[in-house]
Amino acid sequence: MASAAAGFGLAGVWGLAGAHAQPAPGRVAVLAEPGGTAVALAVLLNAGSGWEAEDEAGLSHLAARSVAEEVAARLEALDATVSVHCGGTAIGFTLLAPPETWRPAATLLLDALFLSSPGDGAVARARAALEATLRMDDASPAAHARTALREAHYGAHSRWARPPCGRAEDVASYGAGDVRRMLRTRFVPSRAVAAVVGPVVPREALDLLGRELGDVSLPVLLPRPQPPPASRRVWLTQPTVTTWLGWAYPFPPDADPEAVELLAFRIEQAAGPSPAHPEVYDIAVAVERHGAGGALLISLVAAPEHAPRWAARIEDLVRRAGVARLPENAFRDLTRRYLGWRLLELATPEARALDAARQLFFDHSHRPPDEAVRDLTPERLRLAAASLGSPAHAVLGPE
């Protein structure tokens, strides 16, 4: 196991055989995996769409994409690639590089992020690509249903109700100056967390992150939605052949996020498409976190004639989960599947790096998934479900 001493906050270092240090407050983590064949760096910035004023909606995503565009060719020369992740609370980058070039690649990305500005050409290319992507999304009923749910939960005029990745129309209106202003004000080292995963020397990785991020001992301050979320209901009528049902169950800041994640998995397993209920076409259950806790977001797509029955079924499923504990056997089966799902989700080093960065961002520490799952109990699952507030609800479907 690698030494944790670094002179700046170290969240956790684990190496061979999954050994890991006791987590300590901080904003960086290095997960040394000597047998790996690639190195991943994840950076999360406390600059998601939840921070955006009305006249800068979608700008943080465009700024992040501009940075990625600025360095793409130079990263390519180092055989490295970078991806951007948008969200309400944070904007993220993941870098994937060969072990031989990860350090110059990481330095290149972090310098571009914190020390320089993208050129006009990079901004133009990023804007064109992002606009094209968002334009397709803007037209889909699925996107409308998601926005309807966010409006029901956060309120129609809340910045949190806007699509976290922006709208094409908004993105098209920004110039390079807007992007640089956003980068200077929000994309700063003090708002960043970072994690490195792969065959690295922990000391070298920590030195590099320390150089780029400076003092990482203080955690980031998470944004809180204003006004606080509420349990509104929104109905949208569109000429669709399916019905989208959405719920946003709020949970408080002291909720048990790992247990809420398990609950999300349980709902997805219980209500997802299967031969037993062919009228369900799709389900997505996600946990969105922010400074005031977060929300369990459920989206289910069903045949319109079955939608009312499924609406009642989902709400009953959540309600019962908060009342009665699962029997031990059922809980064991559930957690076995859940652990496998979590590990498969984290199969790549870039997924593990992003997961570690997210944990640092929200929880100021890092735990490997198997340890976190091992500590779950039927009672924790029940309490997590019981901690959920009244849901906001949105329906999009035909008349």
């Binding site: 999954g18 064949t37 076995r336 496998g340 799902w341 984290l346 199969a347 790549t348 998934p369």
Partner: protein, 424 residues
């Protein structure tokens, strides 16, 4: 095409390699890796032959919380009806059994192998191995109805694979390049109808330890893997039937009519005596050249398995219509042939260096998951019969220079390519 597929969970060195067919694996395989073979970016592997068991190759990754198991069963003749039906019989049990353990399973019918994959928590390794051992049999109680259902699923899957021009073009070209290895449509068990009993006999004769290779990567110790695969697969009752009656070369059934909107053409150059690493670099260079010269979407691929090797170029008329190579009047085939000649005349040492670096990178990225590592090692093992083939290929790639590429391309340019075409 040695193309990176590292976006998805399963690593694939080169999609087209799946279209190639394996030479017979040697019966006597090394029990341990040769000295010096274990170094390199893919890391050390343990090569074991458990008592009465298959060849087992293990890449221990102690820090990994996942384990991937890949079982490849070499078929005695190109995959036909029996292999496809067996895959459908086994698939649901394997998938549902894996799901109960929080794992994922897949079954693939490759031209020369049946491949079974599971990936899941390393802590479940013994159960996953048991699932594979139990799952890879024809259940004694398989009814005629169940067999019919599996047959229909197998036919639908095979038809779907040829429903679009790309796979059909590759299939036609593969048959043209390697006619002795053309896919069987008649069933390996002979002309009689396939019953559950006959399927079980065929499988018992096929899945013998000498024809099975198990590749494992992830958080598990090699000794444990070896113990799990001792005396497996059990010798079936059909040892004496290992070689079926000699039959004439199988005839391909007419493929389904694909959804062809544009004419597409393929050229295949047999390259049996050329170094696969050189061919891989040449293919990547050609693909870049084709894209730059105005045939976007055209692919250059290395098809390789054992001694069966070819460099293949594929393109559609739609892509070529947008061409900027000054050959608008030339046929698609002429333009593809010109690309080979052009590349052979213009070696670019710096570009060779870039391409070979990129190929190495793609393989390492593909191997960055336990599942990907097992796939990289297993695919190369299937192709060559050598447990360390992936390591050697990576090392060979790093030695390829411009002169070797030019020599190979000139040699190919002097041969007559196989040409196939699909049209609306």
């Amino acid at each position: 095409m040695v193309r990176n597929r590292y976006g998805a969970g399963r690593a694939v060195l080169a999609a087209a390699w799946c279209a190639a067919l394996a030479a017979a694996a040697p019966e006597a395989r090394p029990q341990t890796a040769a000295p010096g073979d274990t170094a390199g970016p893919l890391g050390p592997v343990a090569v074991i032959r458990p008592a009465g068991g298959p060849l087992v190759v293990v890449r221990e990754q102690p820090e990994s919380r996942l384990v991937a198991i890949r079982v490849a069963v070499e078929l005695r003749e190109p995959a036909g009806e029996a292999a496809r039906i067996l895959a459908e019989v086994v698939r649901p049990r394997l998938e549902s059994g894996a799901a109960e353990l929080g794992a994922r399973a897949a079954v693939e019918v490759a031209p020369s192998h049946l491949v079974f994959r599971v990936v899941g928590p390393a802590g479940e390794f013994e159960r996953l191995a048991a699932l594979l051992r139990r799952g890879l049999v024809v259940p004694a109680g398989t009814t005629a109805t169940a067999l019919d259902a599996a047959r229909i699923q197998a036919q639908a899957r095979a038809a779907a694979e040829l429903d679009t021009p790309g796979p059909l073009l590759r299939s036609l070209l593969r048959d043209a390049l390697f006619p002795a290895l053309a896919g069987s449509q008649g069933g390996e068990t002979g002309p009689a109808p396939l019953t559950a009993e006959r399927l079980a006999q065929w499988w018992a004769a096929t899945a013998r330890p000498s024809r099975v290779a198990v590749t494992v990567a992830g958080g598990v110790e090699a000794a444990l893997v070896a113990a799990e695969f001792e005396d497996w697969p059990a010798a079936g009752a059909a040892r004496d039937r290992e070689r079926g009656p000699q039959r004439p070369a199988p005839q391909r059934a007419s493929p389904p009519a694909p959804q062809v909107v544009y004419r597409a053409a393929g050229l295949g150059y047999r390259a049996h005596r050329l170094d696969p690493a050189v061919l891989a670099v040449a293919a990547a260079l050609l693909e870049r050249r084709l894209a730059r010269s105005g045939i976007p979407g055209a692919t250059a691929e290395l098809w390789w398995n054992g001694e069966n090797r070819a460099l293949v170029l594929l393109a559609s008329e739609r892509a070529a219509a947008a061409g900027r190579d000054g050959q608008a009047g030339a046929s698609l085939r002429e333009r593809l042939e010109a690309a080979i000649a052009d590349m052979a005349d213009r070696p670019a040492a710096a570009e060779v260096l870039r391409v070979r670096r990129r190929l190495v990178r793609d393989i390492l990225f593909a191997a960055r998951t336990a599942e990907g590592m097992a796939e990289v090692l297993g695919q190369m093992l299937d192709r060559t019969g050598e447990p360390m083939a992936a390591h050697r290929f990576l090392a060979a790639l790093q030695r390829v220079d411009a002169r070797a590429v030019v020599t190979a391309l000139r040699a190919l340019g002097r041969t007559q390519p196989q040409a196939v075409e699909v049209a609306p």
